[in-house]
Symmetry: C2
Subunit: 201 residues, 2 copies
């Protein structure tokens, strides 16, 4: 059986990454969403078996010590990380995994798993990005400016990724992400078994 493939996806606030991903998962039945471990308290509406596993700081630090995390970050006093085991279990069972992380997490994973295929979801222009962040209407001007600056500093690191998906038209962005996932599986180095099978007959 072929091993599963590992994908990394990032996209700043205003990229629409979550909407793209939700549609991509509907179209890729072999694709699994990686789980995260975090140390912040569970919020209303979250469940212990969702994409986040809520653990204590002590448990988290133990995981760091034991090398059980593919990447981790500390943000406003809380730890966020991606456990290695879930990803490995998927890959060994022939299932693809999508790891959703920020640019720092992506960098850490890329260093550990160079063959992981990384995708950056990007808004089509500065204007669209600004409009999307403003249109939420829930944040004041100062917060919008802060989010905009944060998004732009993430976009400046998009060059570290293998692929860029511009999310202007949603269905096109979804179609393109699916094409990237499909083509990754077709790389010759993933399929040497078939070549050997014919040549060494």
């Amino acid at each position: 059986m072929n091993k599963g493939m590992i994908f990394i996806i990032s996209g700043p606030s205003g990229s629409g990454k979550d909407t793209v991903l939700a549609e991509v998962f509907k179209l890729c039945p072999n694709l699994n969403f990686s789980i995260s471990v975090i140390t912040r308290p569970m919020r209303t509406g979250e469940t212990p078996d969702g994409k986040y596993r809520f653990i204590t700081r002590e448990q988290f630090e133990k995981m760091i010590e034991n090398g059980e995390l593919l990447e981790h970050n500390e943000f406003v006093g809380n730890y966020y990380g991606t456990p290695k085991k879930y990803v490995e279990d998927c890959v060994n069972a022939g299932k693809d995994v999508m790891i959703e992380v920020d640019v720092n997490g992506a960098k850490q994973i890329r260093e550990k798993i160079p063959e992981a295929v990384s995708i950056f979801v990007c808004p089509p222009s500065f204007e669209v990005l600004k409009n999307r962040l403003t249109a939420r209407g829930t944040d004041g001007a100062a917060t919008v400016e802060k989010r905009l600056a944060a998004s732009i500093s993430e976009i400046a690191r998009a060059t570290e990724y293998d692929y860029l998906v511009i999310n202007d038209d949603l269905s096109e962005a979804v179609e393109n992400t699916v094409a990237i996932i499909k083509s990754a599986r077709l790389k010759t180095k993933m399929n040497t078994g078939i070549i050997d099978g014919i040549v060494n007959k």
Copy 2:
């Protein structure tokens, strides 16, 4: 305007490459078939403005001398080559080009254009390959054996290609080839202009 992309495709006798390609061209309107120059005489049914341009040995050797060919080979006394100009004109006009060549031609092009995306079309198994070559019914057993050996020696070099398209089910092979073409355009290094446009606003 973005430049066009260059694709190289090869596939041995029995791979069904031509059938795959014919369908792919219907689905990719921006994709152009590269032309070849050859020194053998025109055959019945061929036209001077088709995929082959018929030239003399002298003209061909002049093209080699002037560095006007991306690749060339001599086969049973005739020259076959891919003129650089057609490919460059397409790319500069933002059009993608598909260059159909054998494994030797592909190697020459890859050395000159490392960013070209190469695809090898492969039969799913030795048995299917043998059946396809036999089923034509036009060749004797010795010819079939010779073709089979030639195909296998090409397949042994499939590892030199970026992507492997297994042609078992035709529609799947076509869909996969289209996904490769689509994803090539999404590589981050092809789209740094969009990143710069947002970051340097």
